[in-house]
Assembly symmetry: C2
Homo-oligomer: 236 residues x 2
Amino acid sequence: MAQGKLYGIGVGPGDPELVTIKALRLLREVPAIFAPCKAAGEPSLASRIVCQLDGTLGAKITNLVFPMSDDEAELDDAWQAAARAVAGKLDDGIDCAFIAEGDPFLFGSFIYLFEKLAADSGRRIEVIPGVSSITAAPARAGIPLVRGDERLAIVPAPSDRESIRRVLTDFESVVFMKINPVFDTLVGVLEEMALLDRATVVVKATTTEERVIRRLADLKGRKPGYFSIMLVRRER
Amino acid sequence: MAQGKLYGIGVGPGDPELVTIKALRLLREVPAIFAPCKAAGEPSLASRIVCQLDGTLGAKITNLVFPMSDDEAELDDAWQAAARAVAGKLDDGIDCAFIAEGDPFLFGSFIYLFEKLAADSGRRIEVIPGVSSITAAPARAGIPLVRGDERLAIVPAPSDRESIRRVLTDFESVVFMKINPVFDTLVGVLEEMALLDRATVVVKATTTEERVIRRLADLKGRKPGYFSIMLVRRER
């Protein structure tokens, strides 16, 4: 029997209308859809996005747990289990989709599944790119990201001041991810570099819970939440 | 009379199916669509994408010239002319779309128009993010861009060896744009750093002319063409 094909599908940053026409067509065509969640029984954001678009898709979605953990062995166990679940369907000749918020290859949990499955030669895997929060956040904030010969860095916010300073010096635009653990340090360096008014935090871009925070001084001491990114555009 | 609203709409990297549902809905709703082209009479790639999706859209598209030039005064004249054309419609109360390949705020010509028009307070402008070739190229090449705590740089390829070396040292993943003018230098540095087999060139990702070039040594001395980007993923 022929192997099924796996589609890794980006479903965009949150607004169901930011799903692509191709993603919606494939989600309707495949018999089985897998969605990542952080723990058993937790809702999947990717699943919520596609179900808002087409409620009939829910019936064929299976959640796979991709835990938030620093324990390499625990993570690897979870990715192996996810890969086995998907491989089982593919081996039965069933085409499958794995849905990822944003883009599958830009900080997507799909990457772990892809790396496990692509190691088996003969697997048919196609990746369908999606709208990333990296561009959705600037769109919602009305802040152009890069133009002409400008340079863009997309980095988990570093914990040391020197690395923050260096990336802000080397690049006209910087997108900081995972800003919560180092938020006060980040704001401190921005103040020293007179860049605080060039920084904007966007929380859950394009969702119903979206917030755009332009006066970071107001936030100092509090944290903007997990799904936040900070844009710093040095020159305009 | 109320001002019209301007939508800056990303229409994706080339495959008409990678247009979002929101983009298609808005393009059908607005009475007037503007599309960028490089010279009067030249075809617009953004226009081609949306017309392949819905042939009836062509009748309401007007091309605006955004020249490829190093002459600041010439560029500014062109952007002013484009802004006047769009502002004229908006002032007549007509909602307009400006379509941009990829994402409007990630190296998009829409940025120049946005900066001119947003300077007038009271303009209603909404930016609709799109799938960028920055994520479409890795999707097509089957190369994850960044995961976990990795860092990504998106830069016009520098002309000096030291800057190339530095960005490849500081970042796990680098996307080089505008690679043609410095292609041999770039390949030379990649060879020195033993990264040549980690580099992939993608030409016109997701279009019918797409090419994925995994053996860059084969290309040396030739150029991969204007709409090419190079992905270098240092660690896997």
